[in-house]
Symmetry: C2
Subunit: 177 residues, 2 copies
Amino acid sequence: MTRTPLADVACSIARATDLFGDAWTALIMRDVLTGVTRFDDLAHDLGISRKVLAARLSRLVEEGVLVRERYQERPPREHYRATPKGEELYPVLLALMEWGDRWYAGPAGPPARIRHLGCGRDTTPVSACAHCGEPLTVGNTTQLPGPGGRTGPGTRVLGPLLTAREDAPGAERPAEV
Amino acid sequence: MTRTPLADVACSIARATDLFGDAWTALIMRDVLTGVTRFDDLAHDLGISRKVLAARLSRLVEEGVLVRERYQERPPREHYRATPKGEELYPVLLALMEWGDRWYAGPAGPPARIRHLGCGRDTTPVSACAHCGEPLTVGNTTQLPGPGGRTGPGTRVLGPLLTAREDAPGAERPAEV
DNA sequence: ACCCATAAGTTCCCTCAGGGAACTCGGGTA
DNA sequence: TACCCGAGTTCCCTGAGGGAACTTATGGGT
């Protein structure tokens, strides 16, 4: 499943993509979180090969993202539900959906809306600063080494944070926001 | 590159994962957005096969997520930079990183920090409601059919919307927010 | 002039993960 | 008894990915 030992890398994005960086996994989580929890339903809905679906589900269960639960005794039937760890992938799905809506929605508009029950309005998800609530963008953030990062030679952080090479690019990022 | 014609499905998550639902693509975007923009640097940094890197980069350029730019004439040298469409993938990366931090950071803490230049503090990204600023969770949201989706029997929403596709090849520009 | 280095790919071979479809297994239901 | 159902598992086959060598254009060192 793992192309490279990404899971061992000191980068949380790499750790996350090791599990989640697969189109099927994202779509499985989307389905499970929206109520499609049974094997056959998932297989039909996604058009995924049953073999791969079984592999993905057991990986997700191993990782503690889903649990396999019996929802009926006679005959015995199992389905899959999200754990808290799985539910917390929701922001990733929202971010993907928002991006897809912005760049691929047809003239009619996006295929789905998200209603926020808290304020009762249809909304769009924004990646906000936990402290001040302002949107976080490439332009208004920097990545710094964290406590859990091995800070040896060759260590990278969010990204490179690199030993980098500001020598290369002539024009740096246009810093629009 | 596409396992199934996910890109044609009327679900923005499916559309997004068709491009982004690949561990390498996510990591490439992480690198490019943090300053690793040259082919060899990316190849080294990611440990990706050069063949696959070339394929991913040209796909990302095709999709308008990256641009290939000449940063030096003699000898001719090219590198890759994010377009606005590419920069808008940042929230997805932040969401992945946040999840990875929460569930995989060692006792020492996360490997990287995000400093929000707006308020000057190290922060964590929160998926917030664009209207009221409250965090969006599985529990406090519902998914409803959107204007660009089909509302027939069997239609799902956050999900496939799967009979789908009448509006598939849609416009490229997102509505300005 | 000659040799080596660098950046950015391309090409080749080989393995293994994914698609597709059939098969299994436990347990109903008519 | 015969026939469904849900939930997987097994089989074969193709093609995407890993790894390493090769290419092209240019510059530097001696």
